[in-house]
């Protein structure tokens, strides 16, 4: 059994009942077989329709790929098919009797890292592919780093193209150990599991391979079906108000509800709450989800909350349960890890729009603490963050936000920066500290 270097996730039968939809993102370097793996996963779970497969067979001949190129199932843009690469993230969907899956197939090229960030930002699990012939490359490390910063709960190392190294167990162990040690040294380490496979031939993707008698773990799909995406620590319910619902007439003339997504914990009718940043207090009088009245609401639910007293609440405010274990921080001085995603570099003194929850304002960069060297994992001083760099910055906002640390509550701790001139989304920030 070659799983000794990995800290595998133990799964119990009771966990199976709680498993919800699993969001997966692929990661890894160019030509390591990400799209082929997703194509194989879709094909072997009978998710590929006959007309899609016929179109792929036809296109494979047209692009001279010889055998059926399953990557063409997700490389849907003309430019991608012509060049045989993935440029932007493709989302695909499949379900087994066990659970539903949402898959983001992301590009491997360094220049398209921003699209990888888009695909991986919502993922529970990152599948990091490694070409067994080439081993761990810079992009493998970059993607593993980004995936852990974005908060995936586990990394699966798919050691691919094992058929091309004669299913060599020692090589597999070596790659698995290198990725595992790298991830454990990251600022936010997560469990790592490695699986030897051939995405092209289907070994250990859906069906167990006869070529790896030395591998004691499950094939990829079985592992994904059984993975328990542990809920994060409950902080206490928060709701970032997106909109005030006021019918202004008819039988609901006096109705006043606050719409938003619950995060960080739950709400129940009767809960004492505080509206931040103003500090007004009230009680939850009623809760509505998709038009129906309910007694309580959990993380992820899109709600309308009615309060028992008339308080001043508007878009951008946050309603917080008083009995929560950790209160959010309020302030305009923010420290964050950031993935930089535009050509225009981030420098000290530069100004951007920010969007956090439902609040928008201006952000000025007051310091760049360091950027991460992906190979050495050292924190190197720098005067700018360029396209695809990962760094840690300090920002001064034009107005206070009500936020959590990203590691505690991703919804309350995430923020984007927007270029004032082009309106492009420039940075993905994961908050590490908020102060007045």
């Amino acid at each position: 059994m070659s799983n000794t270097v990995m800290s595998n996730t133990v799964m119990s039968n009771t966990a199976i009942a709680r498993r919800g939809t699993l969001r997966i993102a692929t990661a890894g370097s160019v030509d390591d077989g990400k799209s082929t793996l997703i194509g194989r996963l879709l094909h072997d779970t009978k998710t590929v329709f006959e007309d899609q497969l016929a179109a792929v067979v036809k296109a494979s001949r047209r692009y001279g790929d010889g055998e059926t190129n399953l990557a063409l199932l997700t490389d849907g843009l003309r430019a991608e098919r012509e060049q045989g690469i993935t440029i932007d993230v493709a989302h695909r969907y499949f379900a087994t009797p066990e659970r539903s899956f949402i898959v983001a197939d992301t590009p491997g090229h360094a220049q398209y890292t921003r699209n990888m960030v888009t695909g991986a930002s919502n993922a529970d699990v990152a599948i990091v592919l490694v070409d067994a012939r080439h081993g761990v490359l810079e992009q493998t490390r970059r993607h593993a780093f980004i995936a852990t910063l974005l908060g995936v709960k586990s990394i699966v190392v798919a050691v691919n193209k094992m058929d091309l190294i004669s299913w060599d167990e020692a090589e597999f162990d070596c790659i698995a150990k290198e990725v595992s040690e790298y991830v454990q040294a990251l600022p936010t380490p997560v469990p790592v599991v490695a699986i030897p496979m051939s995405a092209l031939l289907g070994d250990n993707v859906v069906d167990a391979s006869a070529n790896t008698p030395w591998y004691g773990g499950p094939p990829l799909l079985e592992w994904l079906e059984r993975f328990d995406a542990h809920p994060r620590r409950e902080l206490g319910g928060r709701l970032h108000v997106q909109r005030v619902i006021r019918p202004q007439g008819g039988e609901y003339a006096d109705f006043r509800g606050y719409a938003g997504v619950v995060n960080g914990g739950g709400f129940a009718v009767g809960d004492a709450v505080t509206v931040l940043p103003c500090g007004a207090t009230s009680t939850v009088a009623a809760l509505h989800r998709a038009g129906k009245s309910v007694g309580s609401a959990d993380t992820g639910h899109a709600m309308v909350i009615e309060l028992s007293s008339k308080v001043d609440v508007s878009r951008g405010d946050v309603i917080v349960v008083d009995s929560g274990r950790v209160a959010p921080s309020v302030g305009e001085t923010v420290e964050a890890d950031i993935c930089w995603m535009v050509d225009q570099p981030l420098v000290v003194g530069s100004r951007w729009w920010f969007k956090h929850g439902s609040r928008t304002g201006r952000a000025t960069v007051t310091a760049i603490d360091y950027h991460h060297d992906l190979a050495s994992l050292d924190q190197e001083p720098t005067h700018e963050l360029t396209l695809n760099a990962l760094g840690h910055v300090q920002l001064l906002l034009s107005e206070p936000i009500v936020a959590d640390r990203y590691v505690d509550n991703p919804v309350g701790g995430r923020m984007i920066l927007i270029d004032e001139a082009t309106n492009s989304t420039a940075g993905a920030a994961m908050i590490t500290s908020v102060m007045p």
């Binding site: 919800g20 939809t21 329709f49 006959e50 007309d51 899609q52 179109a55 047209r62 199932l73 997700t74 490389d75 849907g76 843009l77 430019a79 098919r81 440029i87 932007d88 993230v89 493709a90 989302h91 695909r92 969907y93 659970r99 539903s100 949402i102 921003r114 699209n115 888009t118 919502n122 974005l150 997106q242 909109r243 619902i245 006021r246 019918p247 202004q248 609901y252 109705f255 719409a259 938003g260 997504v261 509505h288 998709a290 038009g291 992820g300 639910h301 899109a302 878009r315 995603m341 729009w353 969007k355 439902s358 995430r414 923020m415 984007i416 927007i418 309106n423 492009s424 989304t425 993905a428």
Partner: protein, 312 residues
Amino acid sequence: MSLSSHPVNAISPQASAHLDSLTDEAITIIREVAAECENPVLLFSGGKDSAVLLHLAVLAFAPARLPFPVMHVDTGHNFDEVIEYRDQFVKDLGARLVIASVQQSIDSGRVVEDTGPRASRNRLQSVTLLDAIAEHGFDAAFGGGRRDEDKARAKERILSFRDRQGRWDPRQQRPEPWDVLNARIRKGEHLRAFPLSNWTELDIWNYIAAHELPLPTIYYTHTRTVVERDGMLLSVGGPVVAEPGEVPYEAVVRYRTVGDASCTGAVESTASNVWDVIAEVAAARITERGATRADDTFSESAMEDRKREGYF
């Protein structure tokens, strides 16, 4: 297409939980775009996806009224049942309907209609749509597009940027980390918002079942005179005329998608209610567009090409 041997009449707990999370996601997107944009519109064709979208939009703001209008880009090549349904559904939900007419675009010389027995107005809709967006000053248009429909749609962001010419540039899409929606645009540009991005055809039907949504009757089995063309069953009468050698015949069919009548095919089916359809969709081996849309089989990148021009 064959009926499943395991008829269903309830949604499994697993599918139900998945549907709830998709519903939360869609409602959140609709609320956020409505809050960030000054003048959004919801595109409504009378098809199943836009019916689900409109229903979700109403739920997103209940008990307040829908804060934006609904627009139908009318090709003039319609199924009568769909237009009746459109008017009734919009009225029942208390929404305001704007109609943008492809016929008017043709009459005013904005577009030139293809001629011949196989002419379709599908592609002309892009011009009518962009003209209507400019005329009404809409800065965001909600669409019922789903990523599982087509390989080009699979690449689309939830909030998708369109330049002043209404073009989509798939190579220069804005990053969209965490679905934190960046709705900033300059005057003359607009956004397309796709709250149903992560839904599949089966999710749509599960929602229709769970909420008992009415649909145009042509989504269920009926007898219709058709010709078989390029492997599709096209309804004769209206814009489709039988060509020499094509023999019209009576078939028991339903529509799996509803679009321009000239290029939307029916499928053989005896599914008479929503549960029959769910069983049928779960067992289907052909995609809905592959089975029913002649316009998508023209070329490998037909959808990408249309989307670049401003299509839905």
